[in-house]
Symmetry: D4
Subunit: 167 residues, 8 copies
């Protein structure tokens, strides 16, 4: 298996994962992508989680919405770090998803990121992998520099806006 | 196994279950009581849930707090009806527990009762069992009558309070 | 009357009930469907609830939004199990409906499902009826297997998506 | 019956009603006080609400907590104005009680006051009755003046506090 | 002045008031309609509130959103009953408006109705006025009957829907 | 009048104001302290707010809880900057107070600080006054330095704790 | 630098700032406008905040959404008053932004205005600057008068609406 | 510096960190412990965060309450993974702390754990370090086994409770 596995509770969560998957690709971090439903495929959840480490996986990202049990149950079945991504629920805007993922009991943590922020989940994965991978760390550093630089471009746009207003 | 199983995520949930267990005893509904932690004993969760029906269990009550995955995961692993009891969490007063238990996705329902209301969970179990058990149904009917009558006693106390005030 | 009654507080709740009604039909569980408003037709609420059991009804599903008193008031007037479906309210997204339905006092439970999830309410009804109906239980088991299998199809789609991305 | 009826869902709500009852007594508004539980005594709820107007009652105050169906159900069964008092619930601090009482559907209003504020419910009753009762209106006006004056006393205490600090 | 005054914090609240104004018209209750902003026209707020009673006004409806001080400030300046209508705010969906209107301190009540439910505010006004107006009371009773009857029509639609499904 | 006025909606808010009043004293900013209730003394609210500026007042701090209309109404009646302090309400923990104070409509701002944080309200007042008062600005700078230094002391305590643990 | 600086966490916050910038222009208050991201450009955040006062800046407005650290971090690095504008977040409607900005600890206040209300942030800035600028104060007074007058126009529209309805 | 740094926003957060520090000690993971206040010592925050990686630090745990900017600002200033621990705030029970820490914008993630759950933050740190440390991984595995076994002991207590009840 790849070093990073990306799980989602339903095919419909794929949309929210796009930005994170792109970031992993940009960093050339290969990943295994799979729908594993805690509620509809609990056997697969068990099998996957129990064997992930032995198959070379180092990190698991899991996205889920509503009662959102997937990240926590994966975390209960592996010693690997699990990063949880709360998917927006239709009615409660992801507050239910967030609380269900982050409020884990003592002994089984899930590293939770912002609602629908798969980009940050992927970046957190890169930061963790970079602890043992100097090349990845260099890429990370350069990514952060580009990110800082992107604000300069914003300021060019903002200054243009200001000038236009004043005329 | 008994017809009703009562699971809790942690020994500390026992306190919240007392009223429900007493009601089951009052109705002479024998029950199996066990700590099954979705996060610390996921194997036992699987084993219990997959075999409960074959062993004669008809209904499962499950109490959990915080991220509260127990009721939903049991429900994912059995076709038996599962009644979920949200246990009050220290910080968020059980709102997290409630949302995590009730907001289950299509295909795996949990019959959720009020926060910490194990009494009602047990009573709901009795109502369901009474559908096939005339003796239990008679007891249920008589319980409801006593419950209605209990309000009369309250009114005696209230009238005494009123009279005392007026003097 | 049919074994299952499905009540709604207003004609406008019919939309939210569609998935649940379809599931009941798929399981060939006949149902009685009626608008009973706790606030606009309290007499009918009383009459219906008090006679439902004698007429052969075993389970009542009730959908309501906002202050959402219907499920709890039906439950107060019958010993039958009542399953409550919180309908999304326009302003508070169904959080008011959920709290009003689930936070019932000791002595009168409502088995509450997720906001607008009539599918799960109907499935819970099937699970309860299947306790006394082997044929229904077999259908339930086969439904759950199909549900598990549906995730496989999702994974085919996801793999196709992955391959497309890599090209 | 008296012009004002004060209902509560449970004997335990009596505590929260004390200030309101005292205010009614201070204004010499006689009242009928009764525990009427929407869930445990629905027949009494019906009987009371359907006959209140004919018996001379003009206003109904109803206090309830949690799912708090009492005020709304009384309002559904009478044309009299109903004032609802949300009682604090143990877990959700009365937010559930407030939403359940205030979010009534079109056609059946409940005049809702602040959580546990029976004083204001009683005062609102006095304001409504004073529309047809000049004597009561004079008392109301004088009550408001005393209330304004009470702030002067507060300011004496505050000035004493200021002086003490400065020494 | 008319017996009922309907105030709004801003012209934009007029939309939310439409249903209530129509109900008042249907009941032939004449009303005075005015924009009075607690924050932009505090002098007018004072002048209006202090003179309303002397000019023959008996009831004041006030709609406001966000910090929504209008109903409470009117209530502070008159002994007349004030009915508050929380207008939906863009960001917080009217929860801020609701809490600001309903959570009044001891001594100055506002009779609060559901978010944006001007219909119920107007109906509550009619219920209060009907205490002294037999003709209005008869209309109210007939309105309630029509309301109950409207559910019958809903059930005809629902039955038609059921039959169509079965074909 | 003093340059700064500190208003509170009720004598009971004095406790929450203590830290802020002490900070003003420490900075030798004299202040006028008064209970002005928006709901019980609206005339005084008007009189105070309309004359504050003419009497030499430059800034107004106002603390209130629950519906908390005081800061917003003062702001409606003066052009002076108004700083609002949400006081914790018994039931909703000050969330109602916060929303009511901060969610002011366009045209009448209230500078809102954290719930019960009168210290920060006073410090904000000092920061504003220091814009025109060099002596005050120097004191402010030295206050900030001491504040930074206080964290050093915390670290001495923390290191002592660490060492004690390791033994 | 100008007397007022307006910062935003991202170019996308510019939209929410439009009304505030227009108000500053209307009052002829020149401003410095810049994207400064607490998270992407922390060095610029430091540099800007540490030098703002020395460069003649008197007031800083800062808009940010989600975790919204910008206003609080600027406030930590300058003694100038900082006005915080919570920008609506996509999922939680700005409640997260509001709490993150307003709930500052003792010692570092942020003057917080309503969610997305840059108009009020700008107006608060004008109110503070007007304390030392008589010309600005006259403009402010005249702005408030026009604001009050604008409600009269609303009432003309409302009366036209009323008359149209009655025909 | 040690491989793990544990920061807190204030000395008062030390209490909430106890369980996490004990877990790190139990796993023999040395740690650097320091109070770094984002608001009171922003320079130290910068210095620490910018140099942590060069000094051999691999992971940073940061606890903060209320507006809780510490974890996010550290994350903005280092490429190391940052684990955030929301500390309970007095008024809003840590909901503000949680949202402020978890809702980070794209580009700067904070791995958030449950409110006050420093135990899980430390365990997550151990899980991440164990990816490169086989000895630590063995300890982790054995910790998880003991954790699973601890539930057995709970069940002995529960069975004893059951037996005692039945007598």
């Amino acid at each position: 298996m790849k070093k990073v596995a990306v799980l989602m509770g339903s095919e419909s969560d794929l949309n929210c994962l796009q930005e994170g998957l792109k970031l992993l690709s940009d960093f050339k971090v290969a990943f295994h992508l799979e729908v594993v439903s805690a509620h509809r495929t609990p056997e697969r959840l068990f099998e996957f989680s129990k064997t992930a480490s032995a198959q070379g996986c180092q990190l698991i990202l899991a996205a889920a919405g509503g009662s959102a049990h997937l990240p926590g149950m994966v975390a209960a079945l592996t010693e690997l770090p699990v990063i949880g991504i709360p998917v927006e629920s239709k009615k409660l805007k992801g507050l239910d998803s967030l609380l269900s993922i982050v409020q884990m009991p003592k002994g089984v943590p899930v590293a939770t990121v912002a609602i629908e922020n798969s980009f940050n989940a992927a970046l957190l994965a890169v930061q963790i992998l970079a602890l043992q991978d100097k090349k990845l760390h260099r890429k990370l550093r350069s990514f952060r520099k580009r990110q800082t630089a992107s604000v300069k471009k914003m300021n060019q746009a903002v200054r243009a806006f200001s000038r236009a207003k004043k005329k």
